[in-house]
Protein backbone atom coordinates (compact mmCIF):
# COMPACT_ATOMS: atom_id res chain seq x y z
CA UNK A 1 0.00 0.00 0.00
CA UNK A 2 1.70 3.04 -1.49
CA UNK A 3 4.75 4.33 0.27
CA UNK A 4 5.29 5.76 3.65
CA UNK A 5 2.85 8.61 3.40
CA UNK A 6 -0.61 7.54 4.51
CA UNK A 7 -2.43 10.81 4.15
CA UNK A 8 -1.51 13.52 1.75
CA UNK A 9 -3.48 16.73 1.47
CA UNK A 10 -2.61 18.81 -1.56
CA UNK A 11 -3.82 22.30 -2.44
CA UNK A 12 -6.89 21.92 -0.36
CA UNK A 13 -9.51 24.65 -0.60
CA UNK A 14 -12.66 24.64 1.44
CA UNK A 15 -15.26 27.34 1.66
CA UNK A 16 -18.75 27.62 3.08
CA UNK A 17 -20.95 29.82 0.96
CA UNK A 18 -18.91 32.99 0.70
CA UNK A 19 -16.57 32.25 3.58
CA UNK A 20 -13.22 30.65 2.82
CA UNK A 21 -11.99 28.32 5.53
CA UNK A 22 -8.93 26.79 3.88
CA UNK A 23 -6.82 28.17 1.11
CA UNK A 24 -4.09 26.04 -0.37
CA UNK A 25 -3.54 23.74 2.55
CA UNK A 26 -0.83 21.09 2.16
CA UNK A 27 -0.02 18.54 4.80
CA UNK A 28 1.19 14.97 4.87
CA UNK A 29 1.00 12.29 7.48
CA UNK A 30 3.51 9.46 7.54
CA UNK A 31 2.83 5.89 8.55
CA UNK A 32 3.20 5.52 12.29
CA UNK A 33 2.87 9.21 13.01
CA UNK A 34 0.87 10.63 15.83
CA UNK A 35 -0.04 13.75 13.98
CA UNK A 36 -1.59 16.66 15.83
CA UNK A 37 -3.46 19.50 14.25
CA UNK A 38 -3.52 22.61 16.35
CA UNK A 39 -4.90 26.08 15.79
CA UNK A 40 -7.30 28.63 17.15
CA UNK A 41 -10.95 27.81 17.68
CA UNK A 42 -12.68 28.22 14.37
CA UNK A 43 -9.49 27.87 12.34
CA UNK A 44 -10.99 24.89 10.55
CA UNK A 45 -9.40 21.91 12.25
CA UNK A 46 -12.58 19.92 12.47
CA UNK A 47 -13.40 20.91 8.92
CA UNK A 48 -10.05 19.60 7.73
CA UNK A 49 -10.67 16.36 9.57
CA UNK A 50 -14.11 16.09 8.04
CA UNK A 51 -12.64 16.60 4.60
CA UNK A 52 -10.20 13.73 5.19
CA UNK A 53 -13.13 11.59 6.27
CA UNK A 54 -14.99 12.41 3.07
CA UNK A 55 -17.74 14.18 4.97
CA UNK A 56 -16.99 17.58 3.55
CA UNK A 57 -16.85 18.87 0.00
CA UNK A 58 -13.50 20.34 -0.98
CA UNK A 59 -11.32 21.37 -3.86
CA UNK A 60 -7.85 19.96 -4.28
CA UNK A 61 -6.84 16.45 -3.49
CA UNK A 62 -6.65 14.26 -0.43
CA UNK A 63 -4.91 10.93 -0.81
CA UNK A 64 -5.50 8.39 1.90
CA UNK A 65 -3.67 5.05 1.87
CA UNK A 66 -2.82 5.65 -1.76
CA UNK A 67 -6.35 6.40 -2.91
CA UNK A 68 -7.52 9.81 -3.98
CA UNK A 69 -10.74 10.15 -2.03
CA UNK A 70 -12.25 12.68 -4.43
CA UNK A 71 -12.10 10.51 -7.49
CA UNK A 72 -12.40 7.11 -5.87
CA UNK A 73 -15.42 4.88 -6.31
CA UNK A 74 -17.82 4.13 -3.52
CA UNK A 75 -16.29 0.70 -3.00
CA UNK A 76 -12.81 2.12 -2.65
CA UNK A 77 -14.16 4.67 -0.22
CA UNK A 78 -15.79 2.01 1.88
CA UNK A 79 -12.56 0.00 1.96
CA UNK A 80 -10.72 3.06 3.23
CA UNK A 81 -13.42 3.85 5.72
CA UNK A 82 -13.14 0.40 7.23
CA UNK A 83 -9.53 1.14 8.01
CA UNK A 84 -10.35 4.38 9.74
CA UNK A 85 -11.55 4.82 13.29
CA UNK A 86 -13.16 8.14 14.04
CA UNK A 87 -14.05 9.99 17.15
CA UNK A 88 -15.93 13.25 16.82
CA UNK A 89 -15.58 16.34 18.93
CA UNK A 90 -18.98 15.83 20.52
CA UNK A 91 -18.55 12.05 21.03
CA UNK A 92 -21.72 11.49 18.94
CA UNK A 93 -22.71 8.13 20.33
CA UNK A 94 -25.93 6.62 19.05
CA UNK A 95 -28.31 7.72 21.76
CA UNK A 96 -30.71 4.87 21.25
CA UNK A 97 -28.11 2.12 21.67
CA UNK A 98 -26.36 1.05 24.83
CA UNK A 99 -22.65 1.70 25.12
CA UNK A 100 -21.95 -1.95 24.38
CA UNK A 101 -24.09 -1.87 21.26
CA UNK A 102 -22.56 1.43 20.21
CA UNK A 103 -19.08 -0.01 20.30
CA UNK A 104 -20.05 -3.27 18.64
CA UNK A 105 -21.82 -1.71 15.66
CA UNK A 106 -19.02 -1.84 13.11
CA UNK A 107 -17.82 -5.22 14.33
CA UNK A 108 -21.27 -6.68 13.89
CA UNK A 109 -21.63 -5.03 10.50
CA UNK A 110 -18.39 -6.51 9.25
CA UNK A 111 -18.12 -10.01 10.63
CA UNK A 112 -20.40 -12.61 12.03
CA UNK A 113 -19.21 -13.57 15.47
CA UNK A 114 -20.78 -15.31 18.44
CA UNK A 115 -22.37 -12.89 20.90
CA UNK A 116 -20.03 -13.87 23.70
CA UNK A 117 -16.99 -13.14 21.55
CA UNK A 118 -18.31 -9.71 20.57
CA UNK A 119 -19.03 -8.95 24.18
CA UNK A 120 -15.51 -9.93 25.19
CA UNK A 121 -13.95 -7.79 22.51
CA UNK A 122 -16.11 -4.82 23.42
CA UNK A 123 -15.36 -5.21 27.11
CA UNK A 124 -11.68 -5.37 26.35
CA UNK A 125 -11.90 -2.10 24.46
CA UNK A 126 -13.85 -0.57 27.31
CA UNK A 127 -11.18 -1.56 29.73
CA UNK A 128 -8.52 -0.32 27.35
CA UNK A 129 -9.94 3.18 27.36
CA UNK A 130 -10.45 3.06 31.09
CA UNK A 131 -14.14 2.40 31.47
CA UNK A 132 -15.73 -0.07 33.85
CA UNK A 133 -17.58 -3.11 32.57
CA UNK A 134 -20.90 -1.93 33.92
CA UNK A 135 -21.21 0.92 31.44
CA UNK A 136 -21.73 -1.81 28.85
CA UNK A 137 -25.45 -1.85 29.55
CA UNK A 138 -25.90 1.89 30.03
CA UNK A 139 -27.20 4.39 27.52
CA UNK A 140 -25.14 7.42 26.47
CA UNK A 141 -27.48 9.76 28.36
CA UNK A 142 -26.51 7.94 31.54
CA UNK A 143 -22.80 8.68 31.18
CA UNK A 144 -20.79 11.71 32.14
CA UNK A 145 -19.23 13.85 29.43
CA UNK A 146 -15.78 12.36 29.91
CA UNK A 147 -17.14 8.82 29.94
CA UNK A 148 -18.90 9.49 26.66
CA UNK A 149 -15.60 10.59 25.19
CA UNK A 150 -13.95 7.38 26.33
CA UNK A 151 -16.79 5.29 24.97
CA UNK A 152 -16.47 7.09 21.65
CA UNK A 153 -12.78 6.29 21.63
CA UNK A 154 -13.52 2.65 22.30
CA UNK A 155 -15.94 2.70 19.38
CA UNK A 156 -13.29 4.23 17.14
CA UNK A 157 -10.84 1.52 18.19
CA UNK A 158 -13.08 -1.47 17.77
CA UNK A 159 -11.64 -2.70 14.49
CA UNK A 160 -8.03 -1.87 15.37
CA UNK A 161 -7.99 0.61 12.48
CA UNK A 162 -4.89 1.57 10.59
CA UNK A 163 -5.84 5.19 10.85
CA UNK A 164 -7.36 6.84 13.84
CA UNK A 165 -8.95 10.28 13.59
CA UNK A 166 -9.62 12.01 16.86
CA UNK A 167 -11.21 15.40 17.34
CA UNK A 168 -10.21 16.79 20.72
CA UNK A 169 -10.00 13.42 22.42
CA UNK A 170 -8.88 14.71 25.80
CA UNK A 171 -11.21 17.67 26.19
CA UNK A 172 -13.51 16.98 29.09
CA UNK A 173 -11.30 14.29 30.59
CA UNK A 174 -9.76 14.58 34.02
CA UNK A 175 -5.95 14.92 34.03
CA UNK A 176 -5.38 11.31 35.06
CA UNK A 177 -7.68 9.93 32.39
CA UNK A 178 -6.06 12.25 29.88
CA UNK A 179 -2.70 10.84 30.79
CA UNK A 180 -4.02 7.30 30.51
CA UNK A 181 -5.38 8.26 27.15
CA UNK A 182 -1.95 9.45 26.04
CA UNK A 183 -0.47 6.19 27.18
CA UNK A 184 -3.09 4.14 25.40
CA UNK A 185 -2.58 6.08 22.19
CA UNK A 186 1.17 5.64 22.33
CA UNK A 187 0.85 1.94 23.00
CA UNK A 188 -1.57 1.41 20.18
CA UNK A 189 0.58 3.48 17.92
CA UNK A 190 3.65 1.46 18.73
CA UNK A 191 2.26 -2.03 19.00
CA UNK A 192 -0.44 -2.03 16.39
CA UNK A 193 1.18 0.54 14.15
CA UNK A 194 -1.89 2.73 14.19
CA UNK A 195 -1.39 6.12 12.62
CA UNK A 196 -3.17 8.78 14.61
CA UNK A 197 -4.42 12.11 13.36
CA UNK A 198 -5.81 14.26 16.10
CA UNK A 199 -7.02 17.74 16.76
CA UNK A 200 -6.08 18.91 20.19
CA UNK A 201 -6.02 21.96 22.41
CA UNK A 202 -4.50 20.08 25.30
CA UNK A 203 -0.85 21.04 25.52
CA UNK A 204 0.03 18.22 27.91
CA UNK A 205 -1.41 15.66 25.61
CA UNK A 206 0.18 17.39 22.67
CA UNK A 207 3.66 17.14 24.11
CA UNK A 208 3.09 13.65 25.42
CA UNK A 209 2.22 11.96 22.20
CA UNK A 210 2.80 14.09 19.13
CA UNK A 211 5.49 13.05 16.71
CA UNK A 212 4.50 15.45 13.97
CA UNK A 213 2.05 18.29 13.80
CA UNK A 214 0.77 21.26 11.90
CA UNK A 215 -0.58 24.61 12.96
CA UNK A 216 -3.59 25.98 11.15
CA UNK A 217 -4.35 29.65 11.10
CA UNK A 218 -5.25 32.40 8.73
CA UNK A 219 -6.81 29.88 6.33
CA UNK A 220 -3.51 28.12 5.74
CA UNK A 221 -0.88 25.96 7.37
CA UNK A 222 1.31 28.21 9.45
CA UNK A 223 3.84 25.49 10.12
CA UNK A 224 4.27 21.75 9.81
CA UNK A 225 6.85 19.41 11.29
CA UNK A 226 7.88 17.93 14.60
CA UNK A 227 6.85 19.89 17.65
CA UNK A 228 10.46 20.90 17.78
CA UNK A 229 10.39 22.48 14.35
CA UNK A 230 7.14 24.19 15.06
CA UNK A 231 8.37 26.32 17.88
CA UNK A 232 11.03 27.83 15.74
CA UNK A 233 8.39 29.34 13.50
CA UNK A 234 8.09 33.07 13.64
CA UNK A 235 4.41 33.46 14.28
CA UNK A 236 2.87 35.40 17.06
CA UNK A 237 0.15 32.95 17.86
CA UNK A 238 2.52 29.98 17.85
CA UNK A 239 4.89 31.82 20.10
CA UNK A 240 2.03 32.58 22.43
CA UNK A 241 1.03 28.95 22.75
CA UNK A 242 4.45 27.70 23.59
CA UNK A 243 5.89 30.64 25.43
CA UNK A 244 2.75 32.03 27.02
CA UNK A 245 1.75 31.25 30.55
CA UNK A 246 0.33 27.93 29.59
CA UNK A 247 3.45 27.01 27.70
CA UNK A 248 5.51 26.42 30.83
CA UNK A 249 5.11 22.71 30.28
CA UNK A 250 6.72 23.05 26.97
CA UNK A 251 9.73 24.76 28.40
CA UNK A 252 10.17 21.94 30.89
CA UNK A 253 9.77 19.42 28.16
CA UNK A 254 12.32 21.26 26.10
CA UNK A 255 14.83 21.28 28.93
CA UNK A 256 14.33 17.61 29.53
CA UNK A 257 14.92 16.95 25.89
CA UNK A 258 18.05 19.05 25.87
CA UNK A 259 19.49 17.17 28.79
CA UNK A 260 19.33 13.84 27.00
Amino acid sequence: MGGNIVIEVKNLNISFKRKTIHKNVNISVNRGDIYSIIGKSGSGKSTLLRAMLMLQKFEGSIIILGTDVRTSSDEQKSIIRKQCGVMFQAASLFTSLTIGENIAVSLNENVKLPKRMVEDIVKFKLSLVGLEDDVYYLYPSELSGGMKKKAALARALILDPQLLFLDEPTSGLDPVSAEDFDKTIRQLNKLLGITVVMVTHDLDSFFNVTTRCCVLGDKKVLAEGTPFDIIKTEDEWIKKIFFGERGIKFQKWNQKRDSY
Partner: protein, 357 residues
Protein backbone atom coordinates in the same frame (compact mmCIF):
# COMPACT_ATOMS: atom_id res chain seq x y z
CA UNK B 1 -5.34 -15.21 4.44
CA UNK B 2 -4.99 -17.15 7.64
CA UNK B 3 -3.46 -20.56 8.01
CA UNK B 4 -3.64 -22.90 10.93
CA UNK B 5 -1.36 -25.92 11.07
CA UNK B 6 -1.20 -28.52 13.75
CA UNK B 7 1.89 -30.40 14.71
CA UNK B 8 0.97 -32.77 17.54
CA UNK B 9 0.20 -30.45 20.41
CA UNK B 10 1.61 -27.37 18.71
CA UNK B 11 -0.64 -25.11 16.69
CA UNK B 12 1.03 -22.78 14.24
CA UNK B 13 -0.90 -19.79 12.98
CA UNK B 14 0.34 -17.81 10.01
CA UNK B 15 -0.91 -15.05 7.79
CA UNK B 16 -3.01 -12.10 8.71
CA UNK B 17 -5.16 -12.48 11.78
CA UNK B 18 -7.50 -9.54 11.80
CA UNK B 19 -11.12 -9.24 12.85
CA UNK B 20 -12.37 -10.24 9.42
CA UNK B 21 -10.53 -13.57 9.73
CA UNK B 22 -11.66 -14.16 13.28
CA UNK B 23 -14.66 -16.38 12.49
CA UNK B 24 -12.39 -18.62 10.42
CA UNK B 25 -9.79 -18.69 13.14
CA UNK B 26 -12.37 -19.57 15.77
CA UNK B 27 -13.80 -22.27 13.61
CA UNK B 28 -10.43 -23.84 12.90
CA UNK B 29 -9.11 -23.74 16.42
CA UNK B 30 -12.30 -25.04 17.96
CA UNK B 31 -12.23 -28.00 15.59
CA UNK B 32 -8.65 -29.03 16.26
CA UNK B 33 -7.89 -32.34 17.79
CA UNK B 34 -6.97 -31.65 21.35
CA UNK B 35 -4.88 -31.38 23.44
CA UNK B 36 -3.10 -28.21 22.40
CA UNK B 37 -0.10 -27.28 24.45
CA UNK B 38 1.45 -24.45 22.44
CA UNK B 39 0.11 -21.83 20.11
CA UNK B 40 2.83 -20.45 17.91
CA UNK B 41 2.23 -17.09 16.28
CA UNK B 42 5.83 -15.99 15.87
CA UNK B 43 5.54 -15.97 12.10
CA UNK B 44 2.23 -14.22 11.92
CA UNK B 45 2.18 -11.23 9.61
CA UNK B 46 -0.33 -9.21 11.48
CA UNK B 47 -2.58 -9.78 14.42
CA UNK B 48 -5.14 -7.50 15.96
CA UNK B 49 -6.56 -7.35 19.44
CA UNK B 50 -9.79 -9.15 18.67
CA UNK B 51 -7.90 -12.23 17.51
CA UNK B 52 -5.58 -11.98 20.47
CA UNK B 53 -8.54 -11.95 22.81
CA UNK B 54 -9.79 -15.16 21.32
CA UNK B 55 -6.34 -16.76 21.37
CA UNK B 56 -5.90 -15.85 25.00
CA UNK B 57 -9.25 -17.31 25.95
CA UNK B 58 -8.50 -20.40 23.94
CA UNK B 59 -5.08 -20.79 25.48
CA UNK B 60 -6.55 -20.39 28.91
CA UNK B 61 -9.17 -23.05 28.33
CA UNK B 62 -6.56 -25.64 27.35
CA UNK B 63 -3.81 -24.28 29.55
CA UNK B 64 -1.65 -23.71 26.49
CA UNK B 65 1.24 -21.28 25.98
CA UNK B 66 1.40 -18.66 23.31
CA UNK B 67 4.71 -18.17 21.53
CA UNK B 68 5.04 -14.86 19.82
CA UNK B 69 7.36 -12.09 18.77
CA UNK B 70 8.48 -9.40 21.16
CA UNK B 71 6.14 -6.77 19.83
CA UNK B 72 3.18 -9.09 19.96
CA UNK B 73 4.15 -10.11 23.45
CA UNK B 74 3.68 -6.55 24.64
CA UNK B 75 0.38 -6.36 22.87
CA UNK B 76 -0.58 -9.64 24.46
CA UNK B 77 0.27 -8.25 27.87
CA UNK B 78 -2.00 -5.27 27.27
CA UNK B 79 -4.81 -7.51 26.16
CA UNK B 80 -4.30 -9.82 29.11
CA UNK B 81 -4.30 -7.03 31.64
CA UNK B 82 -7.51 -5.58 30.26
CA UNK B 83 -9.38 -8.83 29.80
CA UNK B 84 -11.73 -9.78 32.57
CA UNK B 85 -13.82 -12.81 33.20
CA UNK B 86 -17.22 -12.10 31.81
CA UNK B 87 -20.27 -13.66 33.25
CA UNK B 88 -22.94 -14.55 30.76
CA UNK B 89 -25.89 -12.23 30.96
CA UNK B 90 -29.13 -13.44 32.42
CA UNK B 91 -31.59 -14.14 29.68
CA UNK B 92 -35.17 -13.21 30.22
CA UNK B 93 -37.80 -15.55 28.97
CA UNK B 94 -40.75 -14.13 27.16
CA UNK B 95 -43.39 -13.66 29.78
CA UNK B 96 -46.59 -12.97 27.96
CA UNK B 97 -48.80 -11.95 30.85
CA UNK B 98 -45.98 -10.16 32.55
CA UNK B 99 -45.47 -8.07 29.44
CA UNK B 100 -49.15 -7.25 29.19
CA UNK B 101 -49.13 -6.20 32.82
CA UNK B 102 -46.11 -4.01 32.34
CA UNK B 103 -47.63 -2.38 29.27
CA UNK B 104 -50.89 -1.69 31.09
CA UNK B 105 -49.04 -0.31 34.07
CA UNK B 106 -47.01 1.97 31.83
CA UNK B 107 -50.19 3.28 30.22
CA UNK B 108 -51.67 4.06 33.60
CA UNK B 109 -48.55 5.86 34.71
CA UNK B 110 -48.61 7.81 31.49
CA UNK B 111 -52.20 8.84 32.12
CA UNK B 112 -51.36 9.80 35.66
CA UNK B 113 -48.47 11.93 34.47
CA UNK B 114 -50.66 13.50 31.80
CA UNK B 115 -53.15 14.68 34.39
CA UNK B 116 -50.24 15.95 36.44
CA UNK B 117 -49.07 17.92 33.44
CA UNK B 118 -52.56 19.26 32.88
CA UNK B 119 -52.76 20.37 36.50
CA UNK B 120 -49.41 22.06 36.23
CA UNK B 121 -50.60 23.95 33.18
CA UNK B 122 -53.68 25.23 34.99
CA UNK B 123 -51.75 26.30 38.05
CA UNK B 124 -49.20 28.00 35.89
CA UNK B 125 -51.89 29.58 33.78
CA UNK B 126 -53.50 31.09 36.86
CA UNK B 127 -50.14 32.55 37.77
CA UNK B 128 -49.62 33.86 34.29
CA UNK B 129 -52.95 35.70 34.41
CA UNK B 130 -51.58 37.96 37.09
CA UNK B 131 -48.37 38.48 35.14
CA UNK B 132 -49.56 39.19 31.62
CA UNK B 133 -45.95 39.65 30.58
CA UNK B 134 -45.53 35.90 30.73
CA UNK B 135 -47.58 35.62 27.56
CA UNK B 136 -45.11 35.94 24.76
CA UNK B 137 -46.93 37.72 22.01
CA UNK B 138 -44.11 37.32 19.52
CA UNK B 139 -43.90 33.58 19.98
CA UNK B 140 -47.67 33.29 19.78
CA UNK B 141 -47.88 35.25 16.55
CA UNK B 142 -45.01 33.28 15.08
CA UNK B 143 -46.72 30.05 15.99
CA UNK B 144 -50.04 31.18 14.56
CA UNK B 145 -48.29 31.83 11.28
CA UNK B 146 -46.57 28.45 11.18
CA UNK B 147 -49.35 26.27 12.50
CA UNK B 148 -52.42 28.25 11.45
CA UNK B 149 -51.75 30.38 8.44
CA UNK B 150 -49.54 27.86 6.69
CA UNK B 151 -52.23 25.21 7.09
CA UNK B 152 -54.78 27.32 5.20
CA UNK B 153 -54.19 25.89 1.70
CA UNK B 154 -54.33 22.26 2.71
CA UNK B 155 -57.41 22.77 4.88
CA UNK B 156 -59.23 24.70 2.17
CA UNK B 157 -58.60 22.04 -0.42
CA UNK B 158 -59.44 19.18 1.91
CA UNK B 159 -62.72 20.64 3.10
CA UNK B 160 -63.72 21.64 -0.39
CA UNK B 161 -63.19 18.06 -1.52
CA UNK B 162 -65.12 16.67 1.43
CA UNK B 163 -68.00 18.99 0.60
CA UNK B 164 -67.89 17.90 -3.03
CA UNK B 165 -67.83 14.20 -2.18
CA UNK B 166 -70.63 14.44 0.35
CA UNK B 167 -72.86 16.44 -1.94
CA UNK B 168 -72.16 14.10 -4.80
CA UNK B 169 -72.96 10.97 -2.79
CA UNK B 170 -76.11 12.56 -1.38
CA UNK B 171 -77.28 13.93 -4.69
CA UNK B 172 -77.85 10.47 -6.17
CA UNK B 173 -80.47 9.49 -3.58
CA UNK B 174 -81.97 12.94 -3.26
CA UNK B 175 -82.56 13.08 -7.01
CA UNK B 176 -84.59 9.85 -6.80
CA UNK B 177 -86.95 11.49 -4.33
CA UNK B 178 -86.95 14.76 -6.13
CA UNK B 179 -85.77 16.35 -2.92
CA UNK B 180 -82.95 18.18 -4.62
CA UNK B 181 -82.93 21.26 -2.45
CA UNK B 182 -82.27 19.20 0.68
CA UNK B 183 -78.71 18.86 -0.49
CA UNK B 184 -78.20 22.20 1.22
CA UNK B 185 -79.35 20.83 4.57
CA UNK B 186 -77.25 17.72 4.18
CA UNK B 187 -74.01 19.49 3.35
CA UNK B 188 -74.27 22.54 5.53
CA UNK B 189 -75.37 20.88 8.72
CA UNK B 190 -73.03 17.92 8.60
CA UNK B 191 -70.07 20.09 7.71
CA UNK B 192 -70.60 22.81 10.27
CA UNK B 193 -71.61 20.51 13.10
CA UNK B 194 -69.22 17.63 12.63
CA UNK B 195 -66.94 17.36 9.66
CA UNK B 196 -65.42 20.83 9.63
CA UNK B 197 -64.14 20.79 13.20
CA UNK B 198 -63.09 17.14 12.90
CA UNK B 199 -61.11 17.55 9.70
CA UNK B 200 -59.28 20.57 11.01
CA UNK B 201 -58.56 18.96 14.36
CA UNK B 202 -57.31 15.73 12.84
CA UNK B 203 -55.14 17.57 10.37
CA UNK B 204 -53.64 19.75 13.04
CA UNK B 205 -53.07 16.76 15.28
CA UNK B 206 -50.92 15.35 12.51
CA UNK B 207 -49.35 18.61 11.56
CA UNK B 208 -48.83 20.51 14.80
CA UNK B 209 -48.83 17.97 17.60
CA UNK B 210 -46.07 16.05 15.88
CA UNK B 211 -43.94 19.11 15.39
CA UNK B 212 -44.47 20.22 18.99
CA UNK B 213 -43.39 16.82 20.25
CA UNK B 214 -40.34 16.70 18.02
CA UNK B 215 -39.29 20.23 18.89
CA UNK B 216 -39.57 19.82 22.64
CA UNK B 217 -38.14 16.29 22.50
CA UNK B 218 -35.03 17.39 20.64
CA UNK B 219 -34.62 20.35 22.95
CA UNK B 220 -34.66 17.86 25.77
CA UNK B 221 -32.04 15.65 24.16
CA UNK B 222 -29.74 18.58 23.48
CA UNK B 223 -30.34 19.88 27.02
CA UNK B 224 -31.80 23.14 25.72
CA UNK B 225 -34.68 22.74 28.17
CA UNK B 226 -32.19 22.68 31.01
CA UNK B 227 -30.61 25.83 29.64
CA UNK B 228 -33.98 27.53 29.64
CA UNK B 229 -34.46 26.51 33.26
CA UNK B 230 -31.07 27.78 34.34
CA UNK B 231 -31.86 31.13 32.76
CA UNK B 232 -34.62 31.48 35.30
CA UNK B 233 -37.34 30.92 32.74
CA UNK B 234 -40.04 28.35 32.95
CA UNK B 235 -40.23 25.99 29.96
CA UNK B 236 -44.01 26.32 30.17
CA UNK B 237 -43.85 30.05 29.54
CA UNK B 238 -41.43 29.75 26.71
CA UNK B 239 -42.60 26.59 25.01
CA UNK B 240 -46.01 25.42 26.12
CA UNK B 241 -48.17 28.52 26.54
CA UNK B 242 -47.44 30.10 23.19
CA UNK B 243 -48.30 26.81 21.54
CA UNK B 244 -51.55 26.32 23.42
CA UNK B 245 -52.70 29.88 22.94
CA UNK B 246 -51.80 30.07 19.27
CA UNK B 247 -53.57 26.78 18.71
CA UNK B 248 -56.69 28.00 20.53
CA UNK B 249 -56.71 31.09 18.35
CA UNK B 250 -55.97 29.48 15.00
CA UNK B 251 -58.01 26.28 15.18
CA UNK B 252 -61.47 27.97 15.39
CA UNK B 253 -60.50 30.29 12.54
CA UNK B 254 -59.49 27.31 10.47
CA UNK B 255 -62.79 25.63 11.31
CA UNK B 256 -64.69 28.64 9.96
CA UNK B 257 -62.58 28.45 6.82
CA UNK B 258 -63.25 24.71 6.51
CA UNK B 259 -66.98 25.29 6.93
CA UNK B 260 -67.04 27.86 4.17
CA UNK B 261 -64.91 25.81 1.81
CA UNK B 262 -66.91 22.64 2.48
CA UNK B 263 -70.25 24.30 1.88
CA UNK B 264 -68.89 25.93 -1.23
CA UNK B 265 -67.80 22.50 -2.46
CA UNK B 266 -71.36 21.32 -1.86
CA UNK B 267 -72.73 24.29 -3.77
CA UNK B 268 -70.60 23.47 -6.78
CA UNK B 269 -71.93 19.92 -6.95
CA UNK B 270 -75.47 21.08 -6.29
CA UNK B 271 -75.14 23.43 -9.21
CA UNK B 272 -73.53 20.98 -11.60
CA UNK B 273 -75.39 17.75 -10.90
CA UNK B 274 -78.69 18.91 -9.35
CA UNK B 275 -79.13 22.16 -11.18
CA UNK B 276 -79.53 24.29 -8.07
CA UNK B 277 -78.27 27.78 -8.74
CA UNK B 278 -75.87 29.39 -6.36
CA UNK B 279 -78.52 31.92 -5.46
CA UNK B 280 -81.07 29.22 -4.56
CA UNK B 281 -78.40 27.47 -2.58
CA UNK B 282 -77.69 30.65 -0.71
CA UNK B 283 -81.34 31.32 0.08
CA UNK B 284 -81.90 27.82 1.39
CA UNK B 285 -78.64 28.01 3.33
CA UNK B 286 -79.66 31.13 5.20
CA UNK B 287 -82.83 29.34 6.28
CA UNK B 288 -81.23 26.07 7.29
CA UNK B 289 -77.94 27.06 8.78
CA UNK B 290 -78.83 28.80 12.00
CA UNK B 291 -76.23 30.52 14.08
CA UNK B 292 -76.97 27.93 16.71
CA UNK B 293 -75.96 25.03 14.40
CA UNK B 294 -72.84 26.83 13.32
CA UNK B 295 -71.79 27.61 16.88
CA UNK B 296 -72.44 24.10 18.12
CA UNK B 297 -69.68 22.99 15.76
CA UNK B 298 -67.41 25.92 16.43
CA UNK B 299 -67.54 25.56 20.19
CA UNK B 300 -65.66 22.30 19.94
CA UNK B 301 -62.72 23.92 18.21
CA UNK B 302 -60.98 25.52 21.22
CA UNK B 303 -61.33 22.28 23.15
CA UNK B 304 -59.75 20.31 20.34
CA UNK B 305 -57.04 22.94 20.07
CA UNK B 306 -56.24 22.74 23.74
CA UNK B 307 -56.11 18.95 23.78
CA UNK B 308 -53.94 18.71 20.67
CA UNK B 309 -51.45 21.28 21.91
CA UNK B 310 -51.28 19.79 25.39
CA UNK B 311 -50.78 16.25 24.11
CA UNK B 312 -48.10 17.42 21.68
CA UNK B 313 -46.20 19.26 24.39
CA UNK B 314 -46.68 16.55 26.99
CA UNK B 315 -45.26 13.88 24.73
CA UNK B 316 -42.33 16.16 23.97
CA UNK B 317 -41.52 16.40 27.64
CA UNK B 318 -41.96 12.66 28.01
CA UNK B 319 -39.19 11.77 25.57
CA UNK B 320 -36.14 10.30 27.15
CA UNK B 321 -32.74 11.42 26.06
CA UNK B 322 -32.39 9.36 22.95
CA UNK B 323 -33.29 9.82 19.35
CA UNK B 324 -35.44 6.73 19.04
CA UNK B 325 -37.68 7.92 21.81
CA UNK B 326 -38.37 11.11 19.85
CA UNK B 327 -39.66 9.13 16.90
CA UNK B 328 -41.75 6.97 19.18
CA UNK B 329 -43.28 9.88 21.03
CA UNK B 330 -44.05 11.80 17.85
CA UNK B 331 -46.01 8.83 16.59
CA UNK B 332 -47.81 8.43 19.88
CA UNK B 333 -48.65 12.11 20.11
CA UNK B 334 -50.31 12.06 16.69
CA UNK B 335 -52.22 8.89 17.39
CA UNK B 336 -53.26 10.00 20.86
CA UNK B 337 -54.17 13.43 19.54
CA UNK B 338 -56.49 12.03 16.89
CA UNK B 339 -57.93 9.53 19.34
CA UNK B 340 -58.61 12.24 21.92
CA UNK B 341 -60.22 14.47 19.32
CA UNK B 342 -62.63 11.76 18.25
CA UNK B 343 -63.46 10.75 21.81
CA UNK B 344 -64.13 14.36 22.77
CA UNK B 345 -66.27 14.79 19.69
CA UNK B 346 -68.35 11.80 20.75
CA UNK B 347 -68.72 13.23 24.23
CA UNK B 348 -69.90 16.52 22.75
CA UNK B 349 -72.51 14.72 20.66
CA UNK B 350 -73.90 12.93 23.69
CA UNK B 351 -73.93 16.07 25.81
CA UNK B 352 -75.56 18.11 23.07
CA UNK B 353 -78.24 15.52 22.68
CA UNK B 354 -78.97 15.51 26.40
CA UNK B 355 -79.04 19.23 26.51
CA UNK B 356 -81.27 19.21 23.46
CA UNK B 357 -78.99 21.44 21.43
Amino acid sequence: MIEVKQDNDIVIIEGKATYSELPKLMDKLNNLSKPVKTIDITNIKKIDTSCLIFLLQFAKRYAANINCSKNDKKLLEIVKSNLKETTPKKTYHDKFFYNIGVAAYRKLIELYLFFGFLGEIFIHFAKALTHPKLFRVKAIVNDIEKMGLNAVPIITILSLLIGVVMAYQGSIKLKEFGANIFIVDLVSISITRELGPLIVAILLAGRSASSYTAQIGIMKVTEEIDVIKTMGLHPFDVLVFPKIISMIISLPLLVILADIAGIFGGAIVANLSLGITYYDFYLRLSNVLTLHTFLSGLIKAPVFAFVIAVIGCFKGFRTSKNVESIGENVTISVVDGIFAVIVIDAIFSVVFRWAGI
